[in-house]
């Protein structure tokens, strides 16, 4: 699925779109509010869905190699976060959908989770 389609599907606000690439392909996603759990995964998803709207949401993507993040639950996005997304080159979107609804919508369009339980 292309980022542009995800933006439409989630009625998402675009805060930073890396390289203006609305046709960047998203194949997999993870939904999580615990960043350490993401960092302990085996595979890197293309997209992170989270209710966290702090700097760590962006830095976790940067450290782990995730290209884009959707902040759910209509959490406010402040300018500092947008600046950081810019600096770290992470696409930053937000939606009013809950984590449940946003995940459900994306799953129903064929997005998968690259999740593999470790040991």
């Amino acid at each position: 699925m292309k980022i542009g389609e995800i933006i439409k599907l989630l009625n998402a606000e675009v805060h930073y779109l890396h390289n203006n690439q609305s046709d960047a392909e998203i194949k997999s996603a993870a939904a999580c509010d615990l960043l350490s759990d993401i960092l302990a995964r085996v595979h890197v998803p293309d997209l992170l869905l989270t209710g966290l709207n702090n700097a760590q949401a962006i830095r976790t993507c940067s450290v782990f190699g995730i290209k884009a993040v959707v902040i759910v639950r209509g959490r406010p996005i402040d300018q500092k976060l947008i600046d950081l997304a810019h600096e770290e080159e992470i696409t930053l979107l937000s939606t009013k959908d809950s984590l449940f609804i946003a995940s459900g919508k994306l799953f129903s369009k064929g997005i998968e989770d690259a999740f593999e339980p470790c040991e």
């Binding site: 759990d37 639950r73 809950s98 995940s103």
Partner: protein, 112 residues
């Protein structure tokens, strides 16, 4: 949809039964932040989380949730199970991730 049907369709492992396994699930809520669940989950929702600490039972009781689904193959802590028994809160687990199990529930027609 009833809790029982959800368990069957999604292949959930039942860790603790609720008093009423035939209750209607009003929707789903997924979050790993307890205060967020306290603030935003709705009565009768099934809660998807990777938190296993016994505080989750208290939150489920306070919010009248239909049950808790633990993801990523996580086992509830002993104290969590004990508390769930005491309070009659359904606890289930799945090897799937949050994204995957939510996707399945959504596919069954469960909404927010």
């Amino acid at each position: 949809m009833k809790l029982n049907e959800i368990i069957k369709s999604c292949g959930l492992e039942l860790k603790n039964s609720a008093e009423d396994m035939d209750c209607d699930v009003t929707g789903g809520y997924s979050s790993d932040l307890l205060s967020d669940v306290m603030a935003n989950a709705k009565d009768g929702n099934v809660w998807i989380t990777l938190q296993t600490h016994n505080n989750i039972v208290a939150v489920a009781v306070l919010r009248n949730l239909a049950g808790i689904i633990l993801v990523n193959g996580r086992e509830p802590e002993e104290s969590t199970l004990a508390k769930a028994k005491e309070e009659g809160i359904a606890v289930m687990s799945t090897p799937l991730s949050t994204f995957e199990i939510v996707g399945k529930l959504y596919g069954l027609g469960i909404r927010g």
